[in-house]
Subunit: 242 residues, 2 copies
């Protein structure tokens, strides 16, 4: 799509991970203006915030808001509570229950703040890099959840009441496998080296958490090298004595 | 209702105004444990926060969380933007459009954070002092909005998915006039002197904003004196030279 066909304004929830980076690439292709919202809600992986900033710079985003939400103590989850152990690669088998990394009402909180912002600037759509396949255990990653939120948005906002049209919730990765996301991102030239997926929050990806395992599998299945993983490999070769 | 009949846990959005104070009195009558959430989102009336703290102390609330949400710059409204003038008593005539004091997606943001907290502590209900009569111009104060949010809560949470029951959204004042709220609060011994309604954020109520006008009318129609107004009257008599 050429620049002249891009129109309107969208808001995107940008975490800094590979999914939201790919969703940003999709939004950037279709909208003239894309504003980014990044929320820090006491999660372990503050490293992601740095990636979000780099991605926003890469896409020349004029409005990128990074918000500190003081929700760490309120919401109980392994992702926000440093005392709870991180589960390792639950993705090995299909989880029967909701994973420990599920943050209560996470997407509802993020989408509602995005909704307030979208209404304030007159945006037509909110993009979110949610995925119903890898995160099938999360109640707020299911298609019917997003449909319900979009209905709510129609009732909750000025646009819905006065002009009868709602702000759309766009989850372009919802039905894609991780390999499909890598292929789509590759086609859209997503700068994978700027993204961050690891839950553990170290300087290099731990390679063992859910998110690292999913990422590695996605790149492997798509037959595309992960520059982040390669870079780490080169760095580790440099410091290891031969 | 006696103490022995109170059971379960509820979460309430406590602003410090007379409506949320009355909703707290209702919740306190029915639930053994009531946790309070007060959100400061850059609104003008920080004076309300002090009232929320005093009300929580009055009801001996064990868990009262006051959260600073950095949303003031994101959400455009006369309530959060100090540069926009506050409208005076729009309530004189039924507003045809959504009032300038409407904060985009306000109730959706507040309810979604309450939802995450309610899920974290296993609460059955979320109380909100919303009113569909005085705030008929606000899209997110309508009964169908709250029904939609409750449906969303059923889809968004662990309780909804694993146990098939949703966290309830309780808006006990939804269909009451301001005079009815005063009568209900009076019956439940709400300490009106601890509440705060004025939007203007001064030391004493301005008496001219929407909220002051609604409050005065409610007390007058119920035939009950407003201790806050009386106290102000006494104070003003003291400092005025005779």
């Amino acid at each position: 799509m050429t620049d002249s066909k891009r129109k309107g304004t969208a808001v995107i929830l940008l975490s800094g991970g590979m999914d939201s980076a790919t969703a940003l690439a999709v939004a950037h292709r279709h909208f003239r203006r894309v504003d980014c919202l990044t929320m820090a809600y006491g999660q372990r992986h503050l490293r992601e915030l740095q990636s979000a900033r780099r991605l926003a710079r890469h896409y020349r985003i004029a409005h990128h808001h990074v918000l500190e939400l003081p929700l760490g103590q309120l919401l109980r989850s392994a992702l926000t509570d440093v005392r709870r152990p991180l589960p390792r690669a639950q993705t090995e088998r299909k989880p029967a229950r909701i994973p420990a990394t599920y943050v209560p009402a996470r997407n509802t909180i993020l989408l509602s703040i995005a909704l307030g912002y979208a209404e304030s600037i007159g945006a037509a759509s909110i993009f979110i890099g949610a995925n119903a396949i890898d995160y099938s255990g999360y109640p707020d990653c299911r298609p019917k959840y997003f449909r319900a939120f979009e209905r709510l948005a129609g009732l909750a906002t000025r646009a819905g009441v006065e002009r009868g049209h709602s702000i759309r919730i766009e989850a372009p990765l919802l039905h894609l496998s991780k390999a499909d996301i890598v292929r789509l991102g590759e086609r859209l030239h997503v700068p994978w080296e700027l993204t961050w997926s690891c839950y553990a929050g170290g300087r290099t990806p731990c390679g063992r958490c859910d998110s690292c395992v999913l990422r590695a599998r996605g790149f492997a299945e798509a037959g595309i090298p992960d520059p982040l993983s390669k870079r780490d490999h080169i760095r580790s070769r440099r410091v290891t004595p031969r």
